[in-house]
Symmetry: C2
């Protein structure tokens, strides 16, 4: 724990199978006009929409509908949401859905009073808002992104083939409150559940596979990985297991609310490559990450061998007897691969719709970060993408 840092995360979380009722405690804190943000309409089928609308009405709110947020929210949808918020003098952005809805709500939050083009300002120049923001609340229906307790927001621009995440520095942009009911995640198709599980796991990996210092954050990362591995093995066979689903939901929140990156460097190259794949294929976020992970980690392993060895021992219980560090590290990655197969994750980008012709474009769209064990060049990204086909 050597680096200097600050930490502040004021999001109020309500967790459990009764958590939606706490919307009644939060709503009175905000004005009348609530922009109700949701996705493709699954919340209308499973009854969550009705419960939320009933609560909003009972609290005397004006409901301003903003449905149709897509899994990878686009810049065009963002412009639409900004107009809705402006036209209706919105007081609260209430996202009911997964990370996409929550990310989108934050993007609207920082853009409503912004005089510049938000895509240019926030997703190209990575600036902080210098205007008033709107408060965001969240009713989470999918575990994975961690968006419910952080200031991150990913927006996709199909024209420029870019999927860009901005983690804002300002805690005003974190949701004021998030309602986490594990039962709400049980209506998801299994493929969405396991994509979320891998998103969680990879968020932890991105923060873990960096740095050589001794750091409490890495111990916490191992704990979250062990818990999500354990619970995901139960949930994949028994998706209605509340205990497993609740642990998965809670690990998701803590995997990406800044805690486990405190005082240390981080990597994020799997996300950079995965997001570029996503911009080309529009595939589910977690699947783009799983499809490129093993080629990436096997490639960088020699540069961070002691951490990969620790990963094998502490996360996967690999025994060290009579083995070289490299053998131990590789065995850890094999255990990880076995688990990914057990869950049914995508293990190549071909099945996500990518092909050889796209490789150059995906490599060009990949933002290169410098916190990992090896700073990649473009040729290396091409190499990893080819191995991911």
């Amino acid at each position: 724990m050597l680096g200097n840092f600050s930490y502040c995360n004021p999001t109020k979380l309500y967790f459990g199978d009764d958590s939606l009722k706490y919307l009644n405690e939060e709503l009175p804190k905000y004005g009348k006009n609530v922009q109700l943000i949701y996705g493709g309409g699954s919340i209308k089928k499973n009854g969550i929409y009705d419960q939320v609308v009933e609560t909003l009405k009972a609290q005397g709110k004006n409901i301003i509908e903003d449905g149709g947020v897509m899994p990878n929210p686009t810049v065009e949808k963002l412009y639409e949401g900004i107009e809705i918020a402006r036209k209706n003098n919105v007081d609260l952005l209430l996202a009911v859905g997964g990370g996409s809805c929550c990310d989108y709500a934050k993007a609207v939050s920082v853009s409503v009073n912004c005089k510049e083009d938000p895509w240019e300002k926030y997703y190209i120049r990575f600036e902080e808002p210098d205007c008033e923001t709107l408060p965001v609340g969240c009713v989470l229906t999918m575990a994975g992104t961690g968006s419910e307790m952080n200031a991150g927001s990913v927006i996709t621009n199909h024209k420029s083939k870019m999927k860009v995440g901005h983690v804002f520095a300002d805690e005003r942009i974190m949701p004021r409150f998030s309602i986490l009911n594990p039962k709400f995640t049980m209506t998801l198709p299994k493929r969405q559940m396991i994509a979320g599980v891998y998103d969680i796991f990879n968020h932890i990996c991105e923060q873990y596979f960096s740095g050589d210092d001794d750091n409490t954050s890495d111990y916490l990362s191992e704990a979250l990985m062990r818990s999500v591995i354990h619970s995901s093995k139960i949930a994949v066979n028994d998706p209605q297991n509340y205990e497993a689903r609740s642990n998965i939901m809670w690990t998701a929140t803590w995997a990406l609310n800044t805690l486990i990156s405190r005082g240390k460097s981080t990597d994020w190259m799997v996300h950079m490559i995965g997001q570029a794949v996503g911009a080309y294929t529009d595939a589910t976020h977690g699947m783009t990450l799983s499809a490129v992970s093993l080629p990436y980690y096997r490639y960088i392993m020699p540069y961070g061998i002691s951490k990969f060895k620790r990963f094998a021992v502490e996360v996967w219980n690999v025994s060290t007897d009579g083995k070289t560090d490299e053998q131990i590290a590789l065995e850890g990655l094999s255990e990880m691969e076995n688990w990914m197969k057990e869950l049914g994750l995508a293990l190549n980008i071909t099945e996500l719709g990518a092909n050889m012709d796209m490789i150059d474009g995906i490599a060009d769209s990949t933002l290169i970060m410098n916190g990992g064990y090896k700073v990649l060049n473009r040729d290396e990204i091409v190499e990893i993408l080819k191995k991911s086909l």
Copy 2:
């Protein structure tokens, strides 16, 4: 992760060897009158007092002195602090010291505008404040209590021989900001450092040794225990090791800021017995905990054998080959005892000034909690205290 809960912890933390400078960012948020709370004067010797006073003056604050907070702050001192705050229309309570100063500041915070007797209201009847509270800020000089990021406050009443902790439910009572500079903890005598380490470790144990469900919180507890064990072994031989001291400081904060108790039951009997010992001996808090821990845990182990087995394996790397669960569990506690000896912790209450004649009184002063693996009766507390002599 089965229980329903809420979580909100808005304390802003500044961590690192440059963290004091962020006092300049926080002070402008509050009014002019700052009650400067500190202990026996060690901060005057090591220069921290001068640095804080210089910053307060540069920010144009009126400094209202409130030194002399004792290691176990008394109800008489609390009454004195309330008078100081009232007389000077204090806007901010700034605690510069360890957990005692921070606990005391919170007690003043909830009492200044309280019309009733605060000891009766908060520490006997355990009520929440129904008045305005004062904001608390903290510059931490000792790692252990976790008071820097929670709403807990322990006050001692020597007349009634009671040392009572109240964990307030209201996040307004958490410090608004805390400045954590690991270097500030390096001026402490080694005995205070190791007492703090054990306070940390026991906070985790109190939350870990309860419940049989599968819970992410228990994985996080194991991570914090592993990290603090590792770093304490380094720090006890090399107290100037910044990496070790910084990990210890960070684990202290997360061991008791409510995270690792989310969704689960907790025990807290070591604290109840230890605090009763403290009320009789005025001994250092962490040492009262260490002195009664092993007799307590060996006594309750049979009632929570699967958790004690898990503790042995996951925290102490005890091998399971050819052993019964009981053997594994006992081996874990022996490993814990070895570590406690290596640090030089108090392993009996006799060396803290307790004796046979006090046992009945200490047992009478012990508040009995019901979250552990065995709800103790008074005879059992007497038995554990005798084994702790």
